[in-house]
């Protein structure tokens, strides 16, 4: 069943609601336009919204009940779009199958976590580069760059880029631009593939090994370590410390709706660590017996702010109030020059319906069957990330050693050339 991509209207209820929203906005906008410069937000601009809708691959129901403060963020792409997207495969002739596969994995949430997504994306790009052949009358540099750009737009459609992916794409594009023109096509492709391999190996795999060794020195016998959610680096640290024989126990803190901690808990218990599992609302109850907190990060900004899974900031603040040192473990390639002061201006929205439903508890259905009038008053918000201020972080463990949060811009400045291999 094919739906034409031009179809703009979602279910009629939603569109009428949206139309009324827009109707209200329009006269207000026209008045404001006389006095003020035109609004810069793309979402307010009618023609841009239409253009984006026409170009978008995924059929979005008109966004309703969205929180005003977060309207600038792209709405969540539902996993239920999967059959629709699968059917459109043959229309997307520009797409390489491995990139397509990775995009679908992002959409459904099978691949999540900064490192995993970045590695999956880079390996897909490697495949695409191997299968690439320069069309006649075009140079490899420019054409390949535009192709990569196309792949990236598709991936953004499926799920907004994480910081690690952004840095990796910047690295790849600069590498392509730097290719000497004298190379033949096969040599250029081989060089790019080996560069990608080197990036993955040096910046992720080896960096993780260095981080393990540094972080394990901070774990003493008798410690009670707290970890939040599921970070691959923190899990590696705990397993490594257990292997080298340190005696400690772990408290895994988890939160709805993702409940990512459960997977990590399973893996830790399988290796024989003694674990405690609790939810985020009990954090101040368990914090008094915790000696160290280990957190992962999606990215760290230049003012030392840690951008990580939503809930991390709460854990760090409670730990700080109890004078428990907080260690953030993050590879250096995830550092970014941006400065972010709050969790609002840049974030990612998750599925709002996941907040109102509890899987496995059909009796918790208080938010079902609301009338439209009631639904207008209810706005569901599901954020994916939050920003932890640098005051709550004791130390950042990177492959460059243990640094205080104030030294992130130093690493970015000194090693930007090196860590992005630019």
């Amino acid at each position: 069943m094919k739906q034409p991509p031009q179809k703009k209207d979602g279910p009629p209820v939603a569109s009428s609601v949206a139309a009324s929203e827009r109707g209200v906005d329009r006269p207000v906008e026209k008045e404001r336009k006389k006095d003020l410069p035109p609004p810069r937000m793309q979402f307010d601009d009618e023609s841009r919204v239409d253009k984006a809708k026409r170009r978008s691959l995924l059929n979005q129901p008109e966004a309703r009940n969205r929180v005003e403060l977060f309207r600038h963020l792209p709405p969540h792409k539902n996993g239920s779009q999967l059959p629709y997207l699968e059917s459109k495969f043959f229309e997307l002739h520009e797409m390489h199958p491995s990139v397509y596969k990775v995009g679908l994995q992002y959409l459904t949430g099978d691949t999540s976590g900064g490192n995993a997504r970045c590695i999956a994306m880079l390996q897909a790009f490697q495949e695409a580069i191997r299968d690439y052949s320069t069309p006649p009358e075009k140079t490899l540099n420019r054409d390949l760059t535009s192709k990569i750009g196309g792949f990236v737009s598709f991936l953004i459609e499926c799920r907004p880029l994480s910081m690690s992916m952004g840095n990796a794409i910047r690295f790849l594009k600069s590498r392509i631009a730097r290719l000497p023109l004298t190379l033949s096509e096969s040599e250029a492709k081989a060089a790019l593939c080996s560069d990608i391999d080197r990036f993955i190996n040096e910046k992720i795999v080896l960096a993780d090994k260095v981080i393990l060794r540094h972080a394990a020195t901070k774990i003493r016998d008798g410690d009670v370590l707290l970890t939040y959610g599921s970070s691959c680096v923190v899990e590696m640290i705990l397993l490594y410390a257990h292997e080298i024989g340190k005696q400690f126990r772990v408290v895994v803190v988890d939160s709805r709706p993702m409940l990512e901690g459960q997977k990590q808990l399973r893996r830790l218990v399988a290796k024989g660590l003694s674990c405690t599992y609790t939810q985020l609302n009990a954090i101040s109850y368990v914090m008094h017996e915790v000696t160290r907190v280990f957190l992962g990060a999606s990215s760290i900004f230049s003012n030392g702010t840690v951008y990580s899974r939503v809930g991390t900031a709460s854990v760090a603040m409670v730990a700080h109030a109890f004078h428990v040192p907080v260690l953030v473990c993050c590879e250096a390639y995830k550092f970014h020059e941006r400065v972010q002061l709050d969790s609002i201006c840049f974030n990612e929205l998750g599925d709002p319906d996941a907040v109102s439903k509890v899987p496995g508890r059909e009796d918790v259905n208080y938010l079902d069957n609301l009338t439209d009038k009631q639904k207008e008053n209810l706005q569901l918000l599901n954020l994916k990330y939050d920003a932890t201020p640098s005051d709550y972080i004791s130390v950042i463990v990177t492959d460059y050693g243990m640094i205080p949060p104030t030294s992130v811009p130093v690493i970015v400045r000194e090693y930007r050339k090196e860590y992005l291999l630019i």
């Binding site: 020195t217 003493r220 016998d221 008094h288 000696t291 040192p325 205080p404 030294s407 000194e414």
Partner: protein, 400 residues
């Protein structure tokens, strides 16, 4: 809940370890163990040699204490001489013995001079290694120096300036050896020259720091000082020579009672001095305008490691909004990152209470504590006046 706390378990473990002959490497440091170090252990690892030396230089010395110390030192040298012959697997026959013996011996002889900084003593000892070495290429010399440096570091793991000084010199050597065009002998003489100059650099550093501090000492101010730091003494001496009117509160600094020594020296300079017992610091903090301390080591977070009592004074000053200034040379920057007090390797020293203590009573024997960077206002170093967050910047530039 105290029976479950990590520090309690750690202390219990240390007790158990104390019954077994202790190996400093088993205590959790960030420095990597070396196999060579096992053979050249400090024969009295329970007591920090660094703090013993400081006590010897600056503390009030009673005659029987002196006798004890001398006896202890002579036992150590005997152990060294008897131990090193048997324990070292000689790489170059008898030369290995001599060298290993001479490094630590040299170091000890340099260190005995009270005015010489630890790091300078270490570098002079390493310079002696270069002089005595028979190597013919830079690579060989580097390897010898590395071995000597490792053995020095392992001999006293608690001294941060020693480790930092060794690391700095090794770094200079590595950078020098990268220059291919020089012939070996001129490179070698340059290294020796540099090592000799380091002593002057250290003295000059003190003078630079003293000059930088002058702007912060205003007429009529009251300065609180803790412990006997030669750098801080230089600062106060220069201020007195510049005819500034200020007075100094010295905390007693038990158990070494370094405050007594410092107040003595200051009185000779005609600076008004008031002596406080350690518990009186909070009581007098109202009248104080600023706090000056030295540092045994400055760590990567920007905090300092200094004589026991510094953290207490910093906490009191911070809560009463008095600035805490740290005066230290830049070679004391170390790549450590303590998260709390117990995260440092233990540096223990014997405390003499004057009366016999029953054996069932435990005594907190640590000689140093860690002051986190949020309680420090400024660091005065020979690189300039820095804020604590710049330390990591400097370290990254130096070591990475």
């Amino acid at each position: 809940m105290w029976w479950r706390s990590a520090s309690f378990i750690l202390d219990r473990q240390q007790e158990q370890n104390a019954n077994v002959p202790p190996n400093p490497e088993s205590l959790l440091h960030s420095s990597p163990p070396s196999s060579m170090a096992d053979s050249l252990q400090n024969p009295k690892p329970n007591v920090s040699a660094y703090y013993q030396t400081r006590a010897a230089h600056h503390a009030v010395v009673t005659s029987d204490w002196l006798a004890q110390a001398q006896a202890a030192v002579s036992i150590q040298t005997e152990d060294d001489s008897s131990g090193s012959d048997g324990r070292i697997a000689p790489v170059t026959g008898g030369k290995g013995d001599d060298k290993a013996f001479s490094v630590i011996d040299e170091f000890n002889s340099w260190r005995k001079q009270p005015d010489l900084a630890e790091a300078v003593a270490a570098i002079r000892a390493l310079a002696a290694v270069i002089r005595a070495s028979q190597a013919t290429t830079m690579m060989e010399l580097e390897i010898e120096l590395k071995k000597a440096s490792d053995s020095l570091k392992a001999w006293d793991t608690t001294s941060i300036s020693l480790t930092a000084g060794c690391d700095l010199f090794m770094r200079y050597v590595t950078r020098t050896s990268a220059l291919e065009y020089e012939d070996f002998n001129s490179a070698r003489s340059r290294l020796i020259e540099r090592a000799e100059k380091f002593g002057e650099i250290s003295c000059k550093a003190r003078r630079i720091i003293a000059m930088l501090c002058q702007d912060f000492i205003f007429d009529g101010c009251t300065i609180l000082v803790h412990g006997f730091s030669r750098v801080v003494f230089e600062v106060l001496k220069t201020a007195a020579q510049n005819k500034k009117h200020f007075r100094v509160f010295c905390s007693e600094g038990r158990p070494d009672r370094t405050g007594l020594r410092l107040s003595n020296e200051l009185a000779k300079l005609d600076v008004p001095v008031k002596l406080l017992i350690d518990s009186a610091v909070a009581y007098t903090m109202d009248e104080v305008d600023m706090v000056f301390v030295g540092a045994d080591g400055i760590v990567e977070s920007g905090g300092i490691i200094n004589m026991m009592g510094t953290y207490q004074i910093a906490l009191v000053s911070h809560s009463m909004n008095k600035p805490v200034y740290v005066a230290a040379e830049s070679y004391k920057f170390a790549r450590l990152y303590p998260l709390d007090q117990k995260d440092l390797g233990p540096a223990l020293r014997t405390i003499d209470f004057g009366v016999p203590i029953p054996s069932k009573v435990e005594v907190e024997k640590s000689a140093r504590d860690y002051t986190p960077p949020q309680y420090l206002t400024l660091l005065f170093t020979d690189l300039g006046v820095l804020t604590p967050s710049v330390v990591s910047d400097e370290l990254i530039q130096l070591y990475l």
